[in-house]
């Protein structure tokens, strides 16, 4: 009895410490840069500036890196060029001190303008540190971007500028140009689709008129492997994301080949196959040849996912019942349950750092009511990101390591959403039909 109490007391600090680790990872609560982003105006391009300004603001806001200051408290004058800045302006806006002081309290000022120039739209964008008194030493960024002279061009240069600011402030990786592959039934059947990371440009990639599901995207974004009933029993098919063409993939003689995922070097495919009689984990070359069975257990095993930083470590989902997340070495040894056996767990998704896992779990809810969790794999500590707004499943990290794409039926049918790793900034990307199985690629 005494021994138990001592043990319990001794364990508390360790848990608290680990909890701090995962909380810090998720929220990154260190003081964020406070951004004042002025409304840019256009010379001969003013008609495109509303979408420009909203894109620039939402990209920066959506990164989760910044404390975005409300435009309603901005001073009267917005500088448009560095020449507009002066040492003092009596809080009218042409002095940096007007932005660092109350009520704005920004640490950084983003300003600039666009102009129609030789039939193109040119953006001049600046970022200044408002706490510097000397405008010369305050300049952090002075950039020029060129886009087409239309709304798409204005949105494009806004994305580029926002992306450069995010990179400048230490955002890991970039979302610009990244794409989300997913499954939609809006054309009548479950087909593989792709869209920009912000939900634009939704395009159908397959036309099997069957059931095509569970896409996985290669690390370089050039290939998508998916599971389809197009030829009868479920099997894996591969496509080229640039051309949409089918690429060869050899399927074993089995009633089920499914759940393909790529190794971090993009040269191998892990998948689940019933070739031995029950779904087990296999690895094969990019074309499906040279397959090799990894696991030998009398339990359903699906969703193999290799650690992006350690190709010898594999997460997967398995029974025998009440599906949980397990890990094992890539030689099949060292099988170890990662989730604690409560509820049912699914969809392990590695963070680019190879130390954290997003996954879905019914812990604390009725069977089937999945929520998104994030776990620090080393300490096994976890945090819950969604809180039973419908079913929330299939999380996948964005290339920036800050965003998660997932599916949820919170609005009725399953749709695809993004959120920040702390569960904030939830945005719905799809609305037409039922949309499921998001996978985030660098392109």
């Amino acid at each position: 009895m005494l021994g138990f109490a001592v043990l319990a007391v001794a364990a508390i600090p360790a848990i608290l410490l680990a909890q701090d680790t995962i909380t810090t990872f998720i929220t990154q609560t260190e003081a964020k840069p406070a951004l004042a982003v002025t409304d840019f105006r256009g010379s001969g391009s003013q008609q495109f500036m509303a979408p420009f300004n909203s894109t620039l603001f939402s990209d920066l806001d959506g990164s989760g890196l910044f404390d975005m200051k409300a435009k309603s408290v901005f001073p009267l004058n917005n500088p448009q060029r560095p020449e507009d800045l002066r040492p003092s302006d009596n809080n009218q806006g042409f002095a940096l001190a007007d932005w660092s002081g109350t009520p704005v309290s920004a640490s950084h000022l983003v300003f600039g303008y666009t102009a129609a120039q030789n039939g193109a739209l040119v953006l001049y964008g600046y970022v200044y540190d408002t706490r510097q008194t000397n405008p010369q030493s305050a300049q952090l960024m002075a950039q020029r971007y060129v886009g087409s002279l239309d709304e798409a061009g204005a949105i494009h240069v806004a994305h580029e500028f926002a992306n450069d600011i995010i990179t400048k402030f230490g955002g890991a990786g970039s979302l610009l140009g990244s794409r989300v592959y997913f499954v939609s039934d809006r054309s009548g059947n479950s087909e593989i689709w792709a869209m920009d990371w912000d939900g634009n440009n939704q395009k159908q990639l397959t036309s099997w008129k069957s059931i095509s599901i569970m896409p996985a995207v290669s690390p370089d974004g050039s290939r998508v492997a998916y599971t389809t009933f197009a030829k009868g029993t479920p099997r894996i098919m591969m496509l080229d994301t640039l051309t949409g063409r089918a690429l060869p993939f050899y399927n074993q003689e089995a009633s089920l080949n499914a759940n393909a995922s790529f190794t971090p070097d993009g040269k191998q495919i892990y998948y689940s196959s019933t070739a031995s009689g029950i779904a087990q984990i296999y690895v094969a070359g990019l074309d499906g040849q040279g397959f090799r069975r990894i696991s030998h257990r009398d339990a359903i095993e699906v969703e193999p996912k290799v650690n992006p930083k350690n190709p010898a470590q594999l997460m997967f989902v398995a029974g025998p019942s009440h599906q949980q997340i397990f890990q094992m070495n890539s030689d099949g040894a060292g099988v170890d349950r990662v989730t604690n056996g409560e509820g049912e767990a699914a969809n392990p998704a590695w963070h680019p750092d190879g130390q954290h896992l997003a996954f879905s779990w019914t812990r604390g809810y009725a069977t089937g009511n999945f929520n998104i969790f994030v776990m620090d794999v080393g300490s096994r500590q976890y945090l819950q990101l969604t809180h039973s707004e419908g079913r929330n499943e299939n999380p996948c990290w964005g290339p920036d390591g800050r965003h998660i794409v997932f599916m949820s039926n919170r609005s009725g049918k399953s749709q695809i959403y993004t959120m920040l790793a702390d569960g904030s900034q939830v945005k719905q990307l799809t609305a037409q039909g039922t949309n499921r199985f998001p996978a985030w690629g660098v392109k």
Partner: protein, 262 residues
């Protein structure tokens, strides 16, 4: 007018049917014997056409597969031949024949003056009544309708592929129904589909549906259903029979279901 026509067509088809059946086929009568052979041989010397003294078959009626003997005797010919592939024959002889159908043999004998023919017919009757044609498709139904109406789903517990008592009863009846279906549709194969309710993850449910399909398949094979006629396919939770989020619908979806195999 319409009635008359259909009556006439019906009559015509009856006639055609009768003609097509070997048993009662009317055989054309042999032509009258040549006048020369019937008339007493002229006593005057001089060249004459050949004379067929005999051309007969015995027996003249056989069952299909049996044989008969053709017998002939020709005089005064330089050459004699019988058709139906027999070719030139000696003036006097016999030959065993096994025609597949009623056949009329024609003997042609010739010399420098001319030629003369005679015929003999073997009537071939069919064997004992042939097997009746298979029942029309309306009485046995289509394969799809039979699979849908005759085969019952086997239901499962959550996250399980164990064959429950009610599933055992359903599959035992299914094994008998499958036997009848395979008699009526000798080339057919039937797919055993494994399905799951909506609660588990889609990925895990593909694996679970596969286990359900193969456990139902194995049970049927134990009861004597030929394994090569059954294919398994898992739909996981991708093809639910219903979509309500309650136990009634979940139980309907936790099933092994049958469809026409591809």
């Amino acid at each position: 007018m319409k009635n008359y026509r259909s009556l006439f067509v019906g009559f015509l088809s009856l006639v055609v049917f009768a003609a097509g059946c070997g048993k009662k086929a009317p055989v054309p009568p042999p032509p009258p014997p040549p006048a020369q052979s019937a008339a007493p041989a002229p006593t005057t010397t001089g060249p004459q056409r050949p004379v067929v003294a005999e051309f007969a078959v015995e027996p003249s009626t056989i069952e299909r597969g049996q044989s008969a003997v053709l017998r002939w005797n020709v005089t005064g010919s330089t050459n004699a031949a019988i058709d139906n592939g027999m070719g030139t024959v000696p003036p006097n002889g016999n030959r065993r024949v096994t025609p597949g159908d009623t056949t009329t043999y024609t003997l042609t004998a010739m010399n420098a003056i001319g030629n003369i023919t005679a015929t003999a017919t073997v009537t071939v009757t069919g064997p004992a009544a042939p097997p009746p044609p298979p029942p029309s498709s309306s009485s046995r139904g289509t394969l799809e309708s039979r699979v849908q109406s005759d085969l019952r789903d086997a239901l499962y517990d959550y996250d399980s592929n164990n064959i429950r008592d009610d599933a055992r009863a359903a599959l035992t009846a299914d094994a008998e129904a499958l036997r009848r279906i395979f008699v009526d549709f000798p080339g057919a194969s039937v797919a055993v589909e494994g399905h799951c309710d909506e609660r588990g993850s889609a990925e895990y449910n593909l694996g679970l549906g596969d286990r359900r399909a193969s456990s139902a398949r194995d049970f049927l094979v134990q009861l004597g259903v030929p394994v090569d006629r059954l294919k398994t396919i898992s739909y996981g939770k991708e093809r639910p029979a219903c979509t309500e989020s309650d136990e009634t619908c979940w139980q309907r979806n936790r099933r092994a279901h049958f469809s026409v195999g591809q």
